[in-house]
Symmetry: C2
Subunit: 184 residues, 2 copies
């Protein structure tokens, strides 16, 4: 995880990974077959850990949106994980990258989940699904984009405050009667 | 530009770049000294082109925020440039990356410019600068994050619509009397 976060996938060497893990390269390949499969395993392990931390009940609706803001807050204390995802998600759009299907599927799932949470939190009719979908993409994008800015210049970026401001503002636009005019 | 966008900096080979440009590797190095300096030159060339397209008068205040939404719209027709920035900005947070100072400075400048535009558009007092700064980071983040999602799955991401929704919503939160309750 540390090596992929520090170097990206393409520039990570199996020799370095093996040395940091205290095994031989053959040992790494015995368990993971290839660098590409090792990467996928690292990402899946991270996802399992996050899902387990959420507990049995995954929050829904407004609680899920608040959970995203909490995630942005906690992320400011786990630079390694943030770097892993920021580097690999963007690197995955390069030619023939082994994590491309992983990130495409991850965004598809997250997009559906955030869209549903917005619809539920705002009490929107099904006809507003396209707008909720655009707002969901914006929320996911805010979280991702803030990570790159924060990694480059942590003193200038408050990930939790900016995420909260974006989520709160989008809720007020989607459901002005429920969430409108915050602070007014 | 194409090679850095398709492979990232670390994985790009000077041999490929030289071949695509129809010169020898020695020829590339004669003009650019190193792969790192070639990368910086490519990024600076792009910036100059964008600034020239803006014309002599850089828009301010609300016009600048609208210009960002227009940029998101135009970006959907220039996949190569979008990929270049998405890949390199995230890769720049890896260890010893040559474009790290470039992207740190770029975000610093953009952050100041978007913050000033928000303050001007919303008529905010200087005491609201911290909030405008958080909103500016969110706007920049939305644009960046949408690019990665769009590159992975263009049919599921409307960059202009999501950027517009985020900017409009943040304006309404910062200045409810001026921009509040859109669509209500």
């Amino acid at each position: 995880m540390d090596t992929f976060a520090a170097r990206g996938y393409n520039n990570a060497s199996l020799a370095e990974i093996a040395e940091r893990a205290g095994v031989t390269q053959a040992g790494v390949l015995h368990y993971f077959r290839s660098k590409a499969l090792l990467l996928t395993s690292v990402l899946e392990l991270r996802d399992r850990t996050d899902i387990e931390q959420l507990g049995a009940e995954r929050p829904r609706g407004l609680a899920f949106l608040r959970h995203l803001v909490d995630t942005a807050r906690r992320n400011a204390e786990r630079e390694g994980i943030v770097r892993l995802y920021a580097v690999l998600s963007a690197e995955s759009v390069t030619d023939d990258h082994p994590a491309q299907p992983y990130f495409r599927d991850r965004y598809t799932g997250l997009r559906a989940f955030v869209t549903d949470a917005l619809i539920e939190a705002c009490g929107l009719p099904e006809t507003d699904r396209a707008r909720a979908h655009d707002a969901a993409n914006a929320i996911i994008a805010v979280m991702d984009g803030l990570q790159v800015q924060w990694l480059l210049d942590p003193g200038s970026v408050d990930m939790a405050a900016s995420t909260d401001l974006a989520v709160t503002s989008l809720l007020a636009t989607l459901a002005p009667d429920r969430f409108g005019r915050p602070g007014a």
